[in-house]
Amino acid sequence: MQIISWQFAVFVIVTLAVYYLLPRKSQNIWLLAASLGFLLTWNVFSVVTLLVSISINYFTGNRIWQNGVKKRGWFWFGVIVNVATLIFFRLETAGYLEKAIRAFLNLADPAGSFELLILLPIGFSYYCLQAISYLVDVAQKQCKPAGDLIDFALYMAYFPRMLSGPIERARTFLPALQTQRVVDNELIARGFTRIVIGLLRKVVIAGILSSYIPKDMFSAPANYSTLVLIFQMLLYAFWVYNDFAGYTSIVRGISDFLGIDLSPNFETPYFAHSFTDFWNRWHISLSHWLRDYIFFPFSRYLLRRKINPRSILYLAVPPLLTMLVSGLWHNFGAYMIFWGLLHGTFQSVEKLAARGKPAAKWEDKPVLRKTGNILLVFTGVVLTWIPFASGSLYRVWDYVKAVFTSTVKPEITTLWLIPLIAIIINFGLDLMHYRHNDELAVRRLPIFTQSALLAVAILAILISFLGSQTALASFVYQGF
């Protein structure tokens, strides 16, 4: 069941109706049942994998707590099981596993003799990270193990965040499940506004942008002029952002109706003034997970090994390693490794360039400098979308080559107006968010203006739904 579907809308309404009637304890049981039911609409295999993962991690968490800090066997068992399973599924979906088995069995026939039919279970790469963070937090005594299996299962299976996160932490999410939830007027207002903004991003902005990105953009870049190739890359950057931010906003809104706050994932990423800042604004729940469980531990490890905190090794390697892991988490393809390393390199260079310089306050910098920084980071990020979107390193090369060597005559048409309008709407939303440091800044406006904007947004969503000739249902980050 896709999130952008009438079936999901009915599912949410029914879930909410029953949820409000139940006492807190039963609410969790109901939410868990609804979450498993939601997953079941995708496939049984995903439900089975999730249940196995819940059992192993629940049991392991309790054993870690009972054994204390000294004995780390259970901790490493839990982490290795999760990581190994993720690697297994990643290898399988990337086709490496099948290739290896074919080579091992000496199967010459490239097709037909057998086919591995293991799919990546829905949401696995997201709840797997939640499981690891739970085990780490329990091992580090930052949170107690979940006493109640239902609560822990819900932490792993909670349907609003199942498809693409946000990746929650046990230390904040479990207590929220154990307290009485009050869904008041304010929460409903927040939830509703989030859903409308999310749909506006996904259905209107991302919907428009996706229909203007040609399917052969990376497979046949030579068909396009330099100007068009650059413009298409810009469209891609805004599309991927609005698609994912739209999804996050919708599911956070739904969760608000359930009285459970989900972590934010986006804070106007294209206003980032440095690459480090970008990762504090883009896919925040993943980048903070990587920061807490890869970057910080590795940096601490280097310090313990008496590495100078101002050395190249200390400044460059942790970001590179962290972003490499980020790339691998997305996909085991060489192009994603390149994407990760590109981001890691940008961060490393940034840290090395700032070495020894006094950190100037961002607010004190002149406007022109600030704008320059933002544009520079934005350009760098757009460049990194090329490997992310292309699906192969050869295509990255072809694309970059075409940008510099294309002889196709650029054609500026009225067609460009529509995606430009979509980008302007995106800019308006982000600018309000950025200036007020509030994703729901629209709610600060006078009631009439707020209502008028809401009405226009709903109208735009409605018209986009009706007029859409493209598949709007799935999200780009569902693929991970």
Partner: protein, 337 residues
């Protein structure tokens, strides 16, 4: 934060105000002739334009006597004026006909369009011009037409998109604006408008001398069951007030020998015998060009499977004679003149 209830209800109110104001202003502008009446807004501009033309003829004459449906082979190959004139010459009956040929139409889409056109215009005669290409993967196109909301609505599947297209000029103007802003779609619309006559025929005078080897040969595996099911749907539309007739649209003799699986036998076995048998089963007349040895000289072809203007006129005259024979045999019952 401000209380939300008021904002929400005001937003809903404003939404209705915007919708009704938009609809009202659009209708006023269309009524005053300041902006043109938008087409139905389906995902096929050719279909939209044909519906506008057909509505106009119906408004002018009060009755459409016959509609020809088919692919570009019909679109190019049937001249409704020549047909009507010949029919008048031999029978003294004036009939108003329209060519509803749509480029790339397949059996599947024809199966959806036939009931819509028959219910909307209630013609005395509905002529489906068909050829093996209507059932092939390779040569068929426009298949997404069947997913269009308006088509679905007209076939009895209510949906908001179809409802809005059917009832809201405001929404249709928005869709027209999107078409206008899309250079490719707009170019196509301009071409359709330029070369389609008011009675629906495509009259671009062009002789395309493409070598025979270039023309697609339909492979046995490319013939699709869903297109034959669509053909079955067309056959089912023969009703008390509308006589259904199937016409085999000719292809160039040279091409016929390679058209299906490189042999005339394949053409007969995979398409012709099956199509005639299906029509016969339903008691629907099937007018064949191949078995009637209808000869088309080289100067009447635009290309290997499309007749040119002259060819279309002559073929339509021949067809009128064949239909007159059916009329004489009592197969056709024309409505009151």
């Amino acid at each position: 934060m401000k209380p939300f209830g008021k904002t929400f209800y005001l937003a809903l109110l404003l939404l209705f105000v915007f919708l009704f104001a938009g609809e009202g202003i659009t209708r006023f502008l269309v009524y005053k002739g300041i902006i043109p009446k938008p087409t139905i807004g389906s995902n096929n501009p050719g279909l939209n334009i044909k519906l506008v033309y057909l509505d106009k003829i119906k408004d002018q004459t009060g009755k459409i006597n016959c509609i020809f449906l088919g692919s570009s082979m019909v679109y190019n190959g049937i001249d409704p004026d020549a047909f009507s004139q010949e029919y008048y010459n031999i029978s003294g009956r004036k009939v108003t006909c329209f060519n509803f040929g749509i480029a790339y139409l397949t059996g599947e889409t024809a199966g959806k369009l036939a009931p819509i056109l028959i219910n909307r215009y209630q013609p005395d005669l509905f002529i489906f011009g068909t050829s093996a290409r209507d059932y092939s993967e390779e040569l068929g196109g426009n298949r997404d037409l069947i997913d269009d909301g308006w088509i679905k609505l007209k076939l009895g599947n209510w949906n908001l998109s179809g409802f809005a297209k059917e009832n809201s000029l405001f929404y249709r103007e928005y869709l027209s604006l999107l078409s206008y802003l899309n250079p490719e779609t707009w170019k196509y619309i301009q071409e359709v408008l330029e070369f389609t006559t008011p009675n629906g025929q495509y009259k671009k005078i062009a002789q395309i001398a493409t070598p025979i080897e270039v023309w697609t040969v339909i492979n046995e595996k490319q013939l699709l069951e869903k297109d034959f099911r669509g053909y079955q749907q067309v056959l089912k539309q023969g009703k008390r007030n509308t006589q259904m007739i199937i016409v085999e649209i000719p292809v160039n003799k040279e091409y016929l020998s390679t058209y299906v699986n490189h042999s005339i036998d394949s053409y007969n076995n995979l398409f012709y015998f099956r199509a005639t048998a299906m029509a016969e089963e339903k008691g629907i007349p099937f007018i064949s060009t191949v078995s009637n040895n209808y000869y088309i000289p080289d100067d009447e072809w635009a290309d290997m499977k499309h007749l040119n203007v002259k060819g279309a006129a002559n073929f339509s005259v021949w067809l009128a004679d064949k239909i007159w024979q059916l009329d004489q045999a009592g197969t056709i019952s024309w409505g009151a003149q």
